[in-house]
């Protein structure tokens, strides 16, 4: 059950980052390419599957825990806090899908809607169970991480190699996102890991360390783009655009690995409750 929940959580996070971050890219950088627009529509479809999967798996888990029938769980689940926020997420996704289907999407409005829609996810999870401050910081982490990764996906899916203008705008967006992602992530780590010993001695702590290692590699590639490839592209060096695009593709792959580890953290026993 936990493996399935982690898998669905990974699908959810990947599609969420692609959609919300892609909308931020469309609003702040450039109109998505044909492949980029297809990625946004695919993310909506994957989110429909992820939301259905999460509802089914949660129903099965509640049936097992409470020892009641699936029918009773289906009646009770929508009335719980998790269920109400699930409905908000589903309705929000329907609104985003409708606005995305317009002939000429209004990207700034869609990006703002996408950012607000992420709030429901943050309030639905671990952080949301611990009050508005923890949920809002989780939202900042999710919003900034999505803007970063979703923009990279759009840059990688461009019809041509990135232009200097687009690269500079994505660089500014990624830098701003980084300024939020890292402190908000450290705050979340303090919130969930009670001691340094538990960071190294528990599966949760080790998965968090693995995630940090991949994030460090991602930051290294981001720095390579920031300080070398983007300035070279601005200087008009012919080979820079190809190098930038290749690095961005590797960054996207690492970003997907970070999301897998994030989904795993959502189902592992918390550090304070783990008994070796």
């Amino acid at each position: 059950m936990n493996a399935l929940l982690a898998g669905v959580g990974w699908l959810d996070l990947s599609a969420t980052a692609t959609l919300a971050g892609g909308l931020a890219y469309a609003s702040l950088v450039a109109e998505p390419s044909a492949a980029g627009a297809r990625a946004l529509r695919a993310a909506v479809m994957l989110l429909v599957l992820a939301l259905l999967g999460e509802f089914i798996l949660t129903t099965l888990r509640m049936r097992e825990v409470a020892g009641i029938g699936a029918g009773a769980v289906l009646v009770e689940l929508p009335a719980t806090r998790w269920g109400r926020l699930w409905i908000v997420r589903a309705l929000g996704l329907a609104v985003l899908a409708a606005a995305l289907g317009a002939r000429r999407p209004r990207w700034p409005l869609l990006a703002a809607l996408g950012a607000v829609w992420l709030l429901a996810r943050s309030f639905q999870g671990h952080a949301g169970a611990h009050g508005p401050l923890a949920a809002l910081i989780d939202w900042l982490h999710l919003l900034a991480g999505s803007a970063w990764l979703g923009s990279l996906v759009q840059l990688a899916l461009g019809r041509d190699d990135p232009t200097a203008r687009d690269a500079l705008r994505v660089r500014a967006l990624a830098t701003g996102a980084l300024a939020l992602v890292v402190p908000a992530g450290i705050y979340a780590a303090f919130l969930h890991v009670p001691s340094l010993e538990r960071l190294f001695a528990t599966p949760y702590g080790r998965a968090l360390l693995a995630k940090l290692a991949v994030v460090v590699a991602l930051l290294g590639l981001g720095a390579l783009n920031h300080f070398r490839h983007v300035p070279a592209l601005v200087d008009g060096r012919a080979e820079a655009a190809g190098k930038l695009r290749r690095t961005v593709r590797v960054e996207v792959a690492l970003g997907v690995a970070v999301l897998l580890l994030s989904a795993l953290l959502g189902v592992l026993p918390m550090p304070h409750e783990f008994q070796p």
């Binding site: 949660t58 825990v65 409470a66 671990h126 923890a134 910081i137 939020l180 402190p183 705050y187 969930h192």
Partner: protein, 123 residues
């Protein structure tokens, strides 16, 4: 870029506050009768206090006697977001085990059990 400065100042300030660790799942904080205690007179109810709010619809609370037979109780009540309570019939002296299974508001399940005893009345 100047607009980054206030964001960094705000978030570094947030980190300096360093939040206390949270449990993220609902665990038993304390119970009445107390875990492992011996009480002089039969309690009228068992009340469990958890470390965070729970979803009452998916919570279970059962009391077993020393022979493993379930004590007949009404459905558990939920007098506060983090409290589960079940009224008890008049218990005979002996040891009782309370089994609980709860779900936190983010749907993470936890379970556990503890014992308490009702002393024989002094003659």
């Amino acid at each position: 870029m100047s607009w980054r400065v206030p964001i960094w100042v705000m978030l570094v300030g947030l980190l300096l506050l360093r939040p206390p660790p949270i449990h993220a799942h609902a665990f038993l904080d304390h119970a009445e009768p107390r875990v492992g205690s011996s009480v002089d007179s039969p309690p009228s109810a068992v009340q469990l206090h958890f470390t965070e709010p729970i979803e009452p619809a998916f919570c279970r609370l059962e009391v077993m006697d020393a022979a493993g037979k379930r004590v007949d109780t009404p459905a558990p009540e939920h007098p506060a977001p983090d409290v589960l309570r079940v009224a008890l019939p008049s218990l005979a002296p002996g040891e009782y085990t309370v089994h609980w299974a709860v779900v936190s508001v983010d749907t993470h399940p936890t379970e556990g059990h503890f014992t308490f005893s009702v002393k024989k009345p002094r003659s």
